[in-house]
C-alpha cells in the first residue's frame, strides 16, 4: 500500500497546472488526500482560487495520469471546500519552479489585509513595485522590478483566517 501511495505521489508531481507549466499540482499544495482501496484511488484536492476555470482540466489531467498506473482500475478526483488551500501550502520545489517560470512565490507570513511585497524572481532584488494586484489569472498579480527592469508576476497570498 505504501508503495502505491509513493507511486501516486510521484505521478502527481508530473501533472502540471495548465496555467503554470512546470509547476505540478502537488507542489502547488492542491492535493489534500489520497486514498487507495484495492485498485481504486480516490483523490481529494483543494482548489486554489474558486473562480479558476482550470479546475476541470486539472481534474481530467490528474485522473488520466493516475489512471495510467498499471495497477489502478479507477481513479476518482473531487474538489473539497472543507479544507482550504492557502499559499502557505506551496512546497519548496513549487517555489523554485514558480521562479523559473518568472512568477514570484507568495510572501511568507502574510497577514490578511496587509500590504505585501515580494522579491524579483529573476534577480532577487527587493526593489520591486506592485503594478496591478490583479493579473492574467485570479491567483496572480503583476509587479515590476526597478533593479533589473523586468516586469514579473507573483502568486497572490491567500490564507485561511478565522472570523
Amino acid at each position: 500500500m505504501n508503495q502505491h501511495l509513493k507511486e501516486i505521489e510521484a505521478v502527481l508531481k508530473t501533472v502540471d497546472d495548465p496555467e503554470l507549466p512546470s509547476v505540478s499540482v502537488f507542489d502547488l499544495g492542491m492535493v489534500h488526500d489520497v486514498k487507495v482501496i484495492g485498485s481504486q484511488v480516490l483523490i481529494t484536492m483543494v482548489p486554489t482560487f474558486a473562480g479558476c476555470p482550470a479546475l476541470d482540466f486539472i481534474k481530467r489531467d490528474v485522473q488520466k495520469a493516475v489512471g495510467d498506473l498499471p495497477w489502478v482500475s479507477d481513479c476518482e478526483v473531487h474538489f473539497s471546500f472543507e479544507e482550504k488551500w492557502s499559499t502557505d501550502a506551496i512546497t519548496d520545489e513549487g517555489k523554485t519552479q514558480l521562479k523559473k517560470h518568472g512568477v514570484a512565490p507568495p510572501p511568507e507570513n502574510y497577514q490578511p489585509g496587509e500590504e505585501w511585497t515580494v522579491d524579483c524572481p529573476y534577480c532577487g532584488s527587493d526593489y520591486t513595485s506592485m503594478e496591478n494586484v490583479f493579473g492574467p489569472t485570479a491567483c496572480r498579480s503583476i509587479l515590476y522590478c526597478t533593479s533589473c527592469r523586468n516586469p514579473f508576476e507573483a502568486m497572490k497570498p491567500v490564507v485561511d483566517y478565522v472570523y
Partner: protein, 276 residues
C-alpha cells in the same frame, strides 16, 4: 442567532431530510448565486471599455472570479437535487431569479457592441456596495448551520478582500478628486439608496433562515452593511433604503434583467448540448 456546533446540518443528504430547512436554504442559495451571476455579467460588459488597460485586467479578473463564486453556489443547489449549474444559470425565467434588482441594472445607455455610454460612477458605487454587502452576508453564513455552504463562504471570503479593496480604493480616490467626480458619485449614491432596499432582504423564507441558524436576520445584515459602508463613505444618506422597483428576493424584476438574460443565454441557446 448564530448556531452552535450541536445544531449543524453536515451534508446535502441531511438537509434533504428536512423540507422546511431545504426550502429556506435553497432560496438563500439562489440569492447568493444570482447576485454573483448578474453582477458578473454587468462587469463582463465593461471588457475593453474600462477607463484604462490596468483596470481592464483587474475588473475582468474580479468578474471571472465572481462568476466562479456563482458557479459554486449553483453547484450546492445541484447537490440538493436541483438541476445542474448551466441550466440554473441559463434556463430560469426572470420571475424565478432572486438577485437584488440593483445588481441587474444596466451599466448605462447604449450597447457594448455599438455605442456603450456606460457610467463609471454607477459601476464604482454599485460594485463597492456589492462587495461590502457580500462580505457581511458571507461572514454571517460562515457561522451558519449549513456546513457545506459555510465552507464555501469561507473559501470565497479568502479571495474576496481583493475585490472589496479594489472598489474601495476607486471610491475613495474619486471621492477625493474633483467636484465633478464627487458629484457624480453622490448622485449614484442617492440613486442606490432608493433602489437597494431588497439587497439585505432574505425573501419569503427570511424567518426560517434566521430561526434555523443558516444566516442572521435582515435587520442585522442591514446594520452590519451600513457599518461597513460608513467606514469608507463619509456621509451616508440620512434616509431609509427604498425599494423603487420592488424586491428581487420576491421575484420582482425590471426589463434590464430580460436584456441581461437574453445576452447571457445567447451562446447557450445556440447549442444546448455543446460540451465546453
Amino acid at each position: 442567532m448564530e448556531r452552535g456546533e450541536e445544531e449543524m446540518m453536515e451534508s446535502a443528504e441531511a438537509a434533504k431530510q428536512d423540507q422546511t430547512y431545504l426550502n429556506a436554504l435553497k432560496d438563500l442559495l439562489y440569492q447568493l448565486a444570482d447576485d454573483d451571476f448578474l453582477i458578473s455579467f454587468r462587469g463582463s460588459e465593461w471588457l475593453g471599455l474600462a477607463p484604462h488597460i490596468e483596470e481592464d485586467v483587474a475588473f475582468s479578473s474580479i468578474t471571472q472570479n465572481t462568476m466562479g463564486h456563482a458557479l459554486m453556489f449553483y453547484n450546492l443547489l445541484e447537490e440538493l437535487g436541483d438541476q445542474e449549474a448551466d441550466f440554473l444559470a441559463h434556463e430560469r425565467k426572470p420571475e424565478e431569479r432572486k438577485n437584488a434588482i440593483y445588481f441587474e441594472k444596466k451599466n448605462g445607455e447604449g450597447h457594448y457592441t455599438e455605442e456603450p455610454y456606460y457610467d463609471w460612477a454607477l459601476t464604482v458605487v454599485r460594485n463597492f456596495f456589492y462587495e461590502s454587502f457580500k462580505k457581511v452576508k458571507l461572514e454571517a453564513i460562515t457561522k451558519g448551520s449549513y456546513k457545506p455552504l459555510a465552507n464555501v463562504a469561507g473559501k470565497v471570503l479568502m479571495e474576496q478582500p481583493y475585490h472589496l479593496a479594489h472598489w474601495r480604493i476607486w471610491f475613495k480616490q474619486l471621492y477625493q478628486s474633483t467636484d465633478d467626480a464627487r458629484n457624480r458619485l453622490q448622485e449614484r449614491l442617492e440613486e442606490a439608496w432608493e433602489q437597494c432596499g431588497d439587497v439585505f432582504e432574505l425573501g419569503a423564507h427570511a424567518a426560517e433562515l434566521e430561526h434555523l441558524g443558516i444566516v442572521v436576520s435582515e435587520d442585522t445584515l442591514r446594520e452590519r452593511w451600513l457599518e461597513e459602508l460608513s467606514k469608507t463613505i463619509p456621509e451616508l444618506p440620512a434616509k431609509n433604503f427604498g425599494k423603487k422597483y420592488g424586491s428581487g428576493r420576491d421575484g420582482d424584476h425590471t426589463p434590464d434583467l430580460n436584456q441581461a438574460l437574453e445576452i447571457l443565454a445567447e451562446v447557450y441557446e445556440s447549442d444546448k448540448d455543446a460540451v465546453w
